[in-house]
């Protein structure tokens, strides 16, 4: 009753409008409870992230030194040592998987978004890709084991790279497709209106315009692949030697990686190896961060 009379009355200095806060009104209480709830949830969600980063910096940072980057992993009771070979192996395998998955993924995305978005092939491919996104990573390792390890007869960096590439492709395809689709139709019209052929529209206009979105997808994929252990266990295995010993690349042999090193060393009963596993974790996180920053920098230079 009082509400409606306020609503109907014209605002005038004579009417006693109530403008003060009334904190115990039901809707004010509800708002307070919900706000508190959101804050608590946000803080709870942040705890694992912050604590992992804290532990990494404290325990991994303690061991950080230049020798880590050059020396080879120590054997059982040895002291010191490092994981230069694992860093090199991770970089090589990420590189191989990026070379395989990025062109493949972007070309597939072009097909899905531009060339035949409603074709049967596209629908099947899209469904398969979405299914693959949720595939357990160990299965990509099994796949690469069957395709590369069994045929070449050895664990190798290319086998690891392939396993990671299979893991990366779905992420790259799906994010690149949605990035290409989100290029406004008027931009496409402009390109056709300028007299572009279909391939010029795609290469000169659509892909450059979609590049920031595509890079985001690539980064997500790289970051995931860099931390994957399972696909590498069957494919690259591990090695205590550098893939570049003597200055020449030896890729067709078991290859070390940071993820597998962390997995191996963290379970060992030796303090030295456990410290190295912590340091390797920190280095891995920094590596992913560096790739992320680099790709953003590259992506932004195109205006």
């Amino acid at each position: 009753m009082s509400d409606s009379s306020i609503a109907l009355a014209p605002p005038s200095p004579m009417s006693d409008a109530r403008l003060e806060r009334s904190p115990f009104e039901p809707r004010a209480l509800k708002s307070l409870v919900l706000t508190t709830g959101v804050w608590v949830a946000a803080i709870l969600a942040g705890i694992p992230l912050v604590s992992v980063l804290y532990m990494l910096i404290v325990r991994g940072g303690a061991r950080l030194s230049t020798s880590l980057f050059v020396e080879l992993p120590p054997a059982g009771f040895e002291m010191g040592g490092g994981f230069g070979n694992a860093i090199a192996g991770t970089v090589v395998m990420i590189g191989i998987s990026a070379l395989l998955s990025i062109p493949f993924g972007i070309l597939s995305a072009v097909f899905l978004a531009e060339l035949g978005p409603d074709s049967r092939l596209a629908q099947a491919a899209r469904f398969a890709t979405k299914t693959l996104t949720g595939m357990p990573s160990i299965l990509t390792g099994v796949f690469a084991y069957a395709v590369v390890v069994l045929t070449t007869g050895t664990y190798s960096a290319p086998a690891g790279g392939l396993a990671l590439a299979v893991l990366m492709v779905p992420t790259v395809v799906l994010t690149a497709e949605s990035a290409i689709r989100s290029v406004p139709k008027i931009t496409r019209d402009a390109a056709y209106g300028m007299g572009c052929t279909r391939s010029q529209v795609i290469w000169k206009v659509m892909l450059p315009t979609a590049m920031p979105g595509i890079l985001t997808g690539v980064m997500l994929a790289v970051a995931r692949a860099a931390g994957e252990t399972a696909p590498l266990l069957f494919t690259a295995l591990f090695s205590s030697y550098s893939p570049f010993s003597g200055g020449v690349p030896h890729l067709m042999q078991p290859t070390a990686s940071l993820a597998v090193l962390i997995y191996n060393f963290s379970g060992m009963p030796f303090e030295n190896q456990i410290e190295l596993a912590w340091a390797a974790s920190l280095v891995l996180v920094l590596l992913v961060l560096a790739i992320n920053v680099l790709s953003r920098w590259v992506g932004q230079r195109r205006v």
């Binding site: 406004p184 008027i186 931009t187 019209d189 402009a190 390109a191 056709y192 209106g193 300028m194 007299g195 572009c196 052929t197 010029q200 000169k204 206009v205 450059p208 315009t209 195109r302 205006v303």
Partner: protein, 281 residues
């Protein structure tokens, strides 16, 4: 109204030197669209328009009357729409644009287009204007040509110090002038403008209109507008389209065309009179 009646009225109105098919010196585009379909939908019928060299031809009419469809048929932009087909012909400088051995991409390089929404590419201002030049492997001085195009589009003074900035950082009116600069950089023979001012404020609209009148010296222009005042201000020749909803569908057709003054001041058709006097829109 029968098609024959329309044709005779148009022939009378279009004035001297317009003998359609032969493509006389003054006719840049001669188009005769008997039927235009999108799938099963008949979008336009019985529309015959000539775009004369060095003049501005305005296409006016209520929404849904097919004026944009007609405009986009001229440079084969409609090819991009699935289900598009038509009966009739479009002759550009005497050549059939829809002939089997004509490349639609080449057509669009001769007949440039400016769209309703400003649509610069997400690249620098310079690259936007240079885009068409690079596409055509322009051999001359790209920098000079970009400057010339920006001057023609009356944008040079506003952007000369920030050519490296993104084209998307400009205001709406500036973006539209950038699109005009991009279109004229390659010196097309004809410039099609599809409601180029409908997304702009009155001041930006005014600038674009002044610009069109300047560009008339070098280019042939066809412009779609649903703003009748705009047609009166800029168009030399006006084609009035209307929409026929009699058969349960919405089909656009040409009612009449002729010199703008005559179409607005002494229209032949009752429908035109009602439209230009604002009785429907």
């Amino acid at each position: 109204m029968t098609p024959t009646m329309e044709k005779s009225s148009k022939a009378n109105r279009s004035g001297a030197g317009l003998n359609g098919e032969s493509g006389g010196a003054s006719v840049m585009i001669d188009c005769k669209l008997d039927q235009v379909f999108y799938g099963d939908f008949l979008a336009v019928r019985d529309s015959e328009v000539q775009v004369q060299k060095g003049k501005i031809t305005g296409f006016i009419g209520p929404s849904g009357c097919g004026k944009s469809t007609v405009l986009r048929s001229l440079n084969r932009m409609n090819d991009l729409i699935r289900g598009f087909r038509f009966e009739g012909h479009v002759h550009f400088q005497g050549k059939d644009v829809y002939s089997r051995n004509v490349d639609p991409v080449a057509v669009r390089r001769y007949i440039g287009m400016v769209f309703q929404q400003p649509n610069p590419f997400s690249m620098s201002i310079f690259d936007n204007v240079a885009f068409g030049l690079r596409l055509n492997r322009f051999k001359g001085d790209v920098v000079a040509r970009v400057e010339q195009a920006l001057r023609q589009a009356a944008l040079w003074d506003e952007v000369k110090d920030k050519l490296k900035n993104s084209g998307l950082s400009l205001s709406g009116g500036q973006q539209q002038r950038l699109c005009i600069a991009r279109a004229v950089a390659t010196e097309p023979s004809v410039l099609l403008m599809d409601e180029p001012c409908s997304a702009l404020d009155p001041i930006a609209t005014r600038r674009i209109e002044e610009l069109m009148i300047q560009l008339k010296r070098d280019y042939t222009i066809a412009i779609v507008t649903h703003n009748m005042q705009q047609a009166q201000r800029v168009a030399d020749i006006t084609a009035f389209f209307s929409v026929d909803i009699s058969k349960g569908s919405r089909t656009g057709y040409l009612v009449e065309s002729g010199p703008t003054k005559e179409v607005f001041e002494s229209p032949r058709e009752q429908l035109t009179k009602e439209y230009v006097s604002g009785q429907f829109s």
